[in-house]
């Protein structure tokens, strides 16, 4: 889409664009270019010179069992986060949608955890499951279950998944409720008159009509789990135990800043860049589909 009516001149628009273009060049293109450039080199331990290795860093990464493991970790982590943040949200939205009055009140009561930073959510959940003082860990102990996410990789994964999903339920609830309220009442009432019970109505009418919302949320939740959960993992487990909760983004940080392995970290950034590209294409596909819907 283009404007029919425009203003003349070129100096003014270029001046108007300068601030954004300057910030973008300095803090986006330069670093992104550096990431690609550095991914082709191995710096010596003193950072004085670097040796060109071509795709060596990538080759090494793809053979590295730790890197492969972090791919698997990321896949498990993001599937679980997506599932656990979407299913309860859908359930709550369906309940709220059944009310004639009061769904707005519940919306107000449910949406604010979205505003809690992932890192703060991490601290809250760490507090509940802390092996020494955590209330839930203590009650689990009473039941005979010895909770220790510091040593047990599965428990650590469970904890970061729940802590990452928690605030996300609010977000998904908001979109599901909006999606449900956009479905014409008459369609559902017609089915009700035909004698379809609640679950039948839900699976044959409501859920299919909700599919654009569901698909959209699938994509944004995967993106969230990939890129925005660093704070949760860093506060709760620090990627451990034995890298059980080291996701791809966490590994870029761990290798680049803690391990000082710049070439490898840069190569990982480039791989993530490709992943982001793929996710973006999927997102755009969805937008196109929605337009034709």
């Amino acid at each position: 889409m283009e404007k029919r009516v425009t203003f003349r001149g070129w100096l003014l628009p270029v001046l108007l664009l300068t601030p954004q273009v300057a910030v973008t060049l300095v803090f986006f293109f330069w670093p992104a270019g550096q990431a690609v450039w550095q991914s082709l080199f191995i710096p010596d331990p003193f950072g004085l010179s670097a040796q060109f290795v071509g795709l060596g860093n990538f080759e090494f990464l793809l053979k590295d069992p730790y890197y492969r493991a972090s791919f698997v970790t990321t896949a498990i982590f993001s599937s679980l986060v997506t599932l656990i943040s979407m299913v309860p949200a859908l359930w709550l939205a369906v309940l709220a949608d059944r009310l004639i009055k009061g769904s707005g009140t519940y919306r107000s009561l449910l949406i604010w955890p979205y505003a809690v930073a992932p890192a703060v959510a991490g601290v809250l959940w760490l507090f509940m499951f802390n092996t020494r003082v955590g209330v839930i860990a203590w009650y689990l102990g009473l039941l005979g279950y010895d909770w220790n996410h510091v040593l047990n990789g599965t428990e650590a994964m469970g904890l970061v998944v729940v802590a990452s999903s928690w605030g996300r339920i609010s977000y998904n609830f908001l979109f599901f409720l909006a999606g449900l309220q956009a479905i014409p009442r008459s369609v559902i009432e017609a089915a009700a008159i035909d004698g379809a019970r609640f679950w039948k109505r839900f699976w044959t009418i409501v859920f299919p009509l909700l599919s654009p919302t569901t698909f959209f949320l699938l994509v944004v939740n995967v993106v969230y789990a990939f890129f925005e959960t660093f704070g949760v993992i860093h506060t709760i487990t620090g990627g451990g135990p034995q890298q059980a909760t080291t996701t791809l983004v966490y590994k870029v940080f761990a290798d680049g800043f803690v391990g000082q392995d710049l070439g490898s970290s840069a190569a990982q950034s480039v791989i993530l860049l490709v992943v982001v590209g793929i996710l973006t294409v999927i997102q755009f596909r969805w937008i196109e589909r929605r337009v034709h819907y």
């Binding site: 404007k3 628009p13 986006f28 670093p31 009310l99 505003a115 507090f127 704070g231």
Partner: protein
């Protein structure tokens, strides 16, 4: 016809019960954090901790705000405020200008600029942290507000939104302004900005929360405790090794850290929902 689908009687009560249960489960972690911020350390380290507020609310919050662990929490709150405001206002300002240029002018190289800006939609800061850190260091931006703010406004989400909005503004308005001999900036200030008010406000709410909740970037770029933001500073309050954390103060800090964005969401709910839906389009 209502009543065919909506519930009444027992069904209505069960629906409310389910929702209240959901609210309770979701609010529980925050309730627990609030309790912990009102009791004393011995009450916490001997589990189970109480589930009702204690009497040390004032002491704990005073301790946190004025002394903290590494640095007074009041200082971290101030840093977070500067960062969040800088990101929200900075991004809105540069985006309004560039969206105006891209939509309302035809000039050589326009498409190049367009792609320069919109390519950034694709790459979150988490992916390019190491080189971005090096750039910030080279500019001497470590432990500074510009260092906290600038790398995070290098993204085109806001520009994209304003572009979409400007495209829906009727052409007649620009036409009339041109006939009246108004200069482009007059049109921008007198007509376009007032029309964008709601969009700006909605975007501000979203960007403020985004900026306030940043973790990884402040963690890298602020090595001096005086420059820590509150969201990243909480983790720094945990002792290294086996020492017992000062839970009441840490939990008071957590409550303080979530308060501003939560208040923004609660009191500007309409704008927040609008901003959320718009920015995901």
């Amino acid at each position: 016809m209502a009543g065919m689908v909506e519930k009444r009687g027992l069904g209505l009560w069960l629906t409310h019960l389910g929702l209240i249960l959901g609210v309770a489960v979701i609010a529980f972690p925050i309730w627990l954090a609030f309790i912990a911020s009102t009791v004393s350390q011995p009450e916490i380290v001997r589990p189970p901790m109480p589930l009702l507020p204690g009497d040390r609310f004032l002491e704990n919050y005073r301790d946190a705000l004025y002394s903290g662990v590494n640095v007074p929490v009041a200082r971290m709150l101030f840093n977070s405020f500067v960062m969040a405001m800088g990101i929200a206002l900075g991004k809105i300002a540069i985006s309004l200008l560039s969206a105006f240029a891209i939509v309302y002018f035809r000039f050589p190289g326009r498409l190049v600029f367009f792609w320069l800006i919109f390519l950034t939609l694709m790459l979150p800061v988490e992916v390019r942290i190491v080189p971005t850190y090096e750039v910030a260091a080279r500019f001497g931006m470590l432990n500074s507000y510009p260092g906290l703010i600038f790398p995070l406004i290098a993204s085109a989400t806001a520009t994209f939104l304003f572009r979409q909005f400007f495209l829906t503004v009727p052409d007649e308005l620009a036409e009339a302004a041109r006939v009246d001999g108004a200069r482009p900036m007059r049109f921008f200030v007198d007509i376009l900005l007032p029309m964008s008010r709601t969009n700006i406000a909605a975007l501000f709410v979203i960007l403020f929360i985004y900026g306030w909740n940043q973790y990884l970037w402040p963690l890298l770029i602020t090595t001096e405790p005086e420059m820590n933001t509150i969201v990243m500073g909480i983790k720094q309050m945990f002792p290294a090794g086996d020492d017992v954390a000062d839970w009441p103060v840490i939990m008071a800090t957590s409550i303080l850290a979530m308060l501003p964005p939560v208040l923004v969401v609660m009191f500007m709910q309409k704008l927040f929902v609008r901003g959320l839906v718009e920015s995901e389009k």
